[in-house]
Amino acid sequence: MTTLSRTKFLALVVVCACLNLGTGFVVATIRLPFYLDSIGTVLATMLGGVWAGIACGLLSVLVGTAYTPTLWAYAGTTVAIAGYVAAVRRVGYLQRLIPTVFLGLGLGVVSAIVSAPVTTFVWKGVSFSGADAITAFFSATGETLLNSVVLGGIATDPVDKLVTSLVVLAVLRRLPKKWFEKPQA
């Protein structure tokens, strides 16, 4: 492993973690109805591989916990997002529009399913976001808490992750080619 590749790996992880956290701030300020808090993780996985994505996600969770105390419990979700992106990049995800749309929706479903047990068992169904209203609706219809959280997540996460995927696709198309050389972890 050369020093250059290690430095590049770290730079990529830092940039993408900052993008994760900074985008959250921008989205909250301009009042967009999305979270868009995994743009950095997806971008890092695309540019640096699965380890860069995982490192970026975990770093974002660690720093983000200082501002949002419940975030630490979702560390597994960021790992799952990085794993999913690394797995589906070979079938055209974030390279062509149509696969990006469908696999972006799939990313939302994966994210909702992985987050649901955490929200259910650690936070008793409260995710401190707009999805809580949908969870309460499903809960009122007689579904179990876990099912309600999963359904609430599936109702909101795919749209968020679709927008995330489209933003990352737009960013990737504008980045210089040298950033696509994969650094080693």
Partner: protein, 231 residues
């Protein structure tokens, strides 16, 4: 640069993290108030803003979780006495990170180095913490600019366009800053430097650090005892 002060900070962060997990639910509030007061007094009020922010955060979080649990049938007594590892961990991690964030980065990096934490991890953590305020600053300026032009406020479409116009400059800023950082790191041989003395030899604490560590330990023990006495 004082490595011992960085080490103090890490030790206190670790103690706060563990006391967050050990002390049960509602007793976390008085326990945290005492812990924060200890840290603030011993370190001459340097953490006041951090402490206030942290306590507000914790109170909101606790009230949300407690309300949810009370509605779903938990007794008031259990809300006070029963432990909630997740809430405590949220509290502990949050406060520990805030404590490390408010310290001088060079001291923290040296302290991490003494504890044999990988240099890359310490560097990445401190870089993110250093870049975040800049990102917020640039983001706020861009939003103000777009509002002046009348783009940001025009419904959902306007907000999406505003987002698209902000994310570009943000990414450029980040890439520019990190490229400069990476080049300077390589030029100085950051990753080729030999490690400092092994763990144990270079680990020193200041008197204040030792005093606050002992007081924090006593504080955690006291609140655990109070919980046992109540139950």
């Amino acid at each position: 640069m004082n490595t011992s002060r960085g080490m103090d900070r890490l030790l206190i962060a670790l103690l706060l993290l563990s006391s967050g997990v050990v002390v049960p639910n509602l007793l976390l509030l008085p326990s945290s108030v005492v812990a924060c007061s200890i840290v603030t007094i011993v370190h001459k009020g340097k953490f006041v803003t951090t402490v206030l922010r942290f306590l507000t955060l914790w109170l909101c979080l606790y009230l949300l979780v407690a309300t949810g649990r009370y509605i779903s049938g938990a007794s008031l007594r259990s809300l006070v006495v029963q432990g909630s590892g997740s809430l405590g961990l949220a509290l502990g991690v949050s406060f520990s990170v805030l404590l490390v964030v408010t310290g001088p980065p060079a001291e923290t990096l040296q302290a991490f180095e003494r504890l044999r934490v990988p240099r890359g991890f310490a560097y990445a953590l401190l870089s993110v913490l250093r870049l975040l305020p800049e990102i917020k600053d640039v983001g706020s300026r861009q939003i103000a600019l777009l509002e002046l032009k009348g783009i940001a406020g025009r419904g959902f479409r306007g907000r999406c366009v505003a987002y698209g116009r902000i994310i570009g400059p943000l990414l450029v800023l980040l890439l520019e800053r990190q490229s400069t950082h990476a080049r300077s790191l390589e030029a100085r041989g950051f990753f080729e430097l030999r490690r400092l003395r092994p763990i144990g030899r270079g680990v020193t604490l200041t008197g204040r650090g030792v005093i606050s560590a002992i007081l924090l330990l006593l504080n955690a023990v006291l609140w655990c005892w109070v919980a046992r006495w109540i139950s």
